[in-house]
Subunit: 298 residues, 2 copies
Amino acid sequence: MSTQDFAAWMGQIQSRTETALDRVLPPAHIAPQRLHTAMRYAVLGGGKRVRPLLVHAAGRVAGAAPERLDRAACAVELIHAYSLVHDDMPCMDDDSLRRGKPTVHVQFDEATALLVGDALQSLAFQVLAADLAAEDAAGRVAMLHLLAQAAGSRGMAGGQALDLANVGQSLSPEDLEFMHVRKTGALIRAAVLLGAHCGDGADAAVLERLDHYARAAGLLFQVVDDILDCSASTATLGKTAGKDQLHDKPTYASLLGLAQAREFAAELHARARESLADLGDRAQGLAELTDFIARREF
Amino acid sequence: MSTQDFAAWMGQIQSRTETALDRVLPPAHIAPQRLHTAMRYAVLGGGKRVRPLLVHAAGRVAGAAPERLDRAACAVELIHAYSLVHDDMPCMDDDSLRRGKPTVHVQFDEATALLVGDALQSLAFQVLAADLAAEDAAGRVAMLHLLAQAAGSRGMAGGQALDLANVGQSLSPEDLEFMHVRKTGALIRAAVLLGAHCGDGADAAVLERLDHYARAAGLLFQVVDDILDCSASTATLGKTAGKDQLHDKPTYASLLGLAQAREFAAELHARARESLADLGDRAQGLAELTDFIARREF
């Protein structure tokens, strides 16, 4: 895939994801209107859609149809969107800017933000459980289990808890990795595996390669995030820059220094690409996406 | 079933639900420890377990094995527990007492309470998706869909949003019912239907009777709750009494007056019992449970 082809593919997936999310979110005119308006505000019209991109790119490896992948992509993105809404609340990171717009509790109110997050999480599971083609029921249950585990206390929510507990602490690289594997890694991994589950072309060996890939890519994503938080501007990021330092949160940048954090990112980038080597051409999209994640500047 | 038999059955279901919840909740010594400790604090050792009782009583109608019902009972109770934790937070009802103990954000902190609720919701879906016997995969997906819908923006979370929007408003009985059908009714209905789905003995006609029953029972539960909130003491309830009035929330008691609210409860009680009439002896447990819900004093 040429760089131009990749950019076109990315734009196409982002656009179909937006359409799919628009369809699964309740219309704003249905009661409770304020809640539905706020849910749509939180989800639509922004974001890089990295997780949906991973779902679709991994789905290609398994030969999955894009229509089936949309469902998994929406589910993962809804979990991600809910986590951002709750994470931005005053009792958590207390942030007022997200995707270049006021955060949900600023634009609406705190109670609405709380309920938006809660309802988006329910919607994620509802979407993944809907419109079942009878023949793949067992696979669907496995996907639901995978997503629930990734979102829960031993996945993303647990990572958030560790993130809060780590404020002001000096951590070992192992502790920092333990936290990030959960906070960001779990959902990135779920995106890749859910994509692969949507197709018939991923046997146990392929799934193992993809799992290996996803672990490296998830950590890579977070290291790059840490680097950008302390080197990019708020305008570029569309969210408040420098907030890790402000909140005295240990990051790869603070722990290793910027230069070494960049080296670590390069190492993870190579490790992720390597995991794809045996998968051939069908993993080309995933490889390009990995380069995008490593080189992104926002 | 004699009153004594019913009391024994209720005690037995409450006890096996406690054991089942204890098993599905992550142990407190697993990281993140504080989050897991708080999750266990929020769920274990309290509550009437009305929803698990409904799951088991409806499961009897469908001839379901108690072991299968435990899973559904846990899932529904985890959703209920998460909603209480979030509902008690300062940005919502700002309550400090629940089940006779300090609420989660008081005992721990607000951020932990937020994450406890989030993680309990994920756990509910994880529990319902786990340990799949291959033969009932399609049924399991249907149950997951039902629970997600009941919890979401057009169910429980939507009811909470309406509850907040209604503060200080004078509502019509229709608007009040619209809110309560979502806030409390949706999960009560899900409990009954999930219980029925666990067995093979519920055909479409039986499911329709049970659905009819559940709608009346759900509203009954809420009307009784409204009555108790303004007539019972904090010590008896184990949660703050009189808080609807304090928060200027419209209730059946404030809308109809206490005497008429009691009449409405009696009418719903009769309607719920009637829905069970055709189901014969196997619905005896559900009938007794309905009497318990109607007559409870805490």
